[in-house]
């Protein structure tokens, strides 16, 4: 497909030459995200540096009916950032300034291209942090986290991205540039456009500036418990969450995930279901919670409970969780990785984990199960050689079965990765006729359907 010449001429008048590219190698490098969705090469990539440039590009695309896919770090997992082959990529990479840190208000103001870990390194100087804690924090941008309503390790205690966004500057499809929200900590003033934008996967507008709510950096202790069975580990999650403890993080890792980590890191961790905890708060409270958790784990037959006593050991325990995906990619570089991201109400957590394991057996797949257990979130992976069409189909089937199980107990098809391309069928299964309401809102804000078309819905371009 070729870029329409009239569109290109106007684009060149809006942006300096360094702010866009038509080079095939560059376009290729923006053709996919971290999902297993097929690459789609865009017509152009633009790197605006100001909100006004973003708005002008959207207005131009709207007049020419050219699709626009906004892109942060490209780490989305469901094809959310895969561009349209007849559209452009609008990369926010160069809008990466932290504009203001307001420690007295527990707030900061920043551009959408700031990377999560970079932000937290800066905030630490003021004793603050932006809490969600995505495992991909070394590449994920705040704008991308907003697009997908990203969660992460610490969402359990502090909430997901949506709970932290106070104000957004947004460029709409028609090229207008607006502010939504307030810096007050609560408001009943009008419809909640901020939370509508968060998690809208680039379908309603492009975020150009952000005010986040922050938390004070807490004292923290990291701990690990090892169990005989996945069932016992999952039951421990439920009992801990019901006990009144509010962990900073509570992660489940199954034996297959540990095996991958061992091979990747050269470790010899016992290959058995494992929980990793973080306890946050005042020192006396932390000590109390550690003892409560230790007792609950012992009551469920945990063979091992360790509190990390050094920063190095703490880092190592977390590497055991955060590097699962990296390990699997390194060990099976040519495989397709199928991923699941369900969440269920807590009382169904243990059963859901068992269901995921049983589905692996039923479909003859090597499945690894892990995730943000404390909020009922289960991630699972299965690795399939691309040549094995039958295994791929069995994998898709198992993924669908697990999502349908989650929906049957009141859960969600995707807790933190979003719908993108991969989960569109399940948006409808989860929400039914409410999807029509979402489409009406999409139509109201982007009547020409230029914003990230083909994502979330199958058919929004009329």
């Amino acid at each position: 497909m070729n870029i329409p010449p009239a569109f290109l001429a106007e684009l060149q008048s809006l942006l300096p030459p360094s702010a866009f590219s038509l080079q095939p190698a560059v376009l290729e490098s923006y053709a996919r995200d971290e999902s297993s969705q097929p690459a789609q090469t865009p017509l152009a990539v633009v790197w605006p540096e100001t909100a006004e440039q973003v708005a002008a590009v959207l207005g131009l695309c709207n007049r020419h009916r050219v699709p626009v896919t906004a892109r942060g770090g490209g780490s989305s997992l469901e094809g959310n950032a895969v561009p349209s082959p007849d559209g452009i990529v609008l990369s926010l990479e160069r809008m990466n300034k932290i504009l203001e840190v307001l420690p007295q208000d527990f707030q900061c103001r920043l551009q959408p291209g700031v990377i999560y870990d970079d932000l937290n390194r800066r905030l630490a100087r003021d004793g603050l942090f932006f809490a969600p804690g995505p495992s991909s924090g070394d590449v994920a941008t705040i704008g991308g986290m907003i697009g997908n309503n990203a969660g992460g390790l610490n969402a359990l205690r502090y909430g997901v991205t949506r709970d932290h966004v106070l104000r957004l500057q947004v460029a709409l499809a028609d090229g207008s540039l607006l502010w939504f929200g307030t810096r007050a900590m609560k408001t009943s003033s009008g419809f909640d456009l901020v939370r509508l934008m968060v998690g809208s996967e680039g379908l309603l507008g492009v975020v150009t500036e952000i005010v986040l709510r922050l938390h004070g950096l807490p004292e923290r202790k990291t701990a690990m418990a090892r169990f005989e069975t996945l069932e016992a580990a999952a039951q421990a999650v439920f009992e801990i969450m019901s006990s009144g403890i509010v962990p900073g993080a509570l992660e489940l890792i199954d034996e297959n995930s540990i095996a991958h980590i061992n091979r990747y890191k050269g470790w010899d961790w016992p290959e058995t279901p494992t929980l990793i905890f973080e306890f946050h708060g005042a020192p006396s409270g932390i000590a109390e919670e550690v003892e409560m958790a230790r007792e609950i784990c012992a009551g469920l037959g945990a063979s091992y409970f360790e509190v990390a006593e050094t920063p190095a050991r703490r880092e190592q325990l977390w590497a055991g969780r955060k590097e699962i995906t990296n390990a699997e990619k390194a060990l099976y570089p040519d495989h397709i990785m199928l991923k699941g991201d369900i969440a269920v109400p807590l009382s169904h957590y243990a059963a859901a984990v068992q269901k995921a394991q049983a589905l692996g057996e039923q479909y003859g797949l090597a499945v690894s199960i892990f995730g943000h257990a404390g909020d009922g979130n289960i991630h699972w992976h299965t690795l399939v050689p691309p040549s094995d069409a039958a295994a791929l189909e069995r994998g898709e089937q198992a993924a669908a079965d697990l999502i349908r199980y989650a929906l049957s107990v009141g859960g969600t098809a995707t807790a933190e990765h979003g719908i993108g391309l991969a989960k569109r069928a399940f948006l409808l299964e989860e929400h039914g006729a409410a999807v029509e309401v979402m489409k009406r809102i999409k139509q109201a804000l982007d009547p020409n359907g230029i914003l990230n078309p083909g994502k979330m819905f199958f058919d929004e371009r009329g």
Copy 2:
């Protein structure tokens, strides 16, 4: 105005005779809410008992273009529930069943007409509570709290109503009945229709069933501190909130409010700026926080700091806060009460309190200032004889000046009461062109503008 005969005939076919009324005395009793907005008598009142009846009534109203104002306890403060004179009131009073309590999931499912205090009495049997804590909890319904995104005494620690709503069944203007949301604790599945509905003041749909997220009932201690000056009390709020303490509640009461309480209750509390605290959590943490707060208050010259040692004393301290409005109504039964509900970022809190006091002096008004200080929320009242047009105008002017001050420092025109009729001009001042986006969403969901017309926007009926 008379009810259209064709509409009435259809209404009679949809509902049993006991479910609607045309009697003038009944209509009069639904003509206003707790605001100072003028009464507007509706054409009819209906009391549906099922979600299907609600949806059928909306579908009927939509076909006949008859306005519908949904109503819970009628305790809204900005005219949010004042009906249209050419429309009907849809009262949810009879849909007041708690359908299910799910202690293992920290959730409950209920109808919108359940009264806040009734819900918490039931939940206490399972050691749970729905946290926000509106002062009007003896009359406010959960449906009304959702309409206004109500806050309250405990919103500071646990969040406002919006933070607690997981799922909603909603009847739309076209008579369809849909479910939004998930029972999972987090989700990235589609647009966030739940939070869009919360705070939409009955303009987008009528909530017919609700799943709430609950918290475990904490240990709690109530305390009171008295200060020489309002400035010192407000500064204490800022220092406490910056110290890492997360109070269950933190309320400011000025000397005028205390004077009203004293006269109403026959008490003799020193008439001086006062803070009331609640500390929640584990006993050791509470003790630590009480001592930290006591020190901060002493450092700012507090002459008095008391921890309530009996349940009766605890009740009394809270009565001193919760009954301010009742006291003022009883003391000035014929006066018009002008009300403010701004919130500002915390670093501006002390200045905003001083500004409120200065505006009272500037305009020659007796002003009482109180509110949910910990989240930057200031309520203020001034009582004006209805015959004193000049004082009324000065009161309106002072209210407008304070809102403009709040907006100038990044705050909001209304933290928890909503826009209703009274704050419509400030919706535009606060959000500017973003109001057009709100209207586009309104148009998409209620194209005929039948849902609570005239509220929030001036002109949504095309």
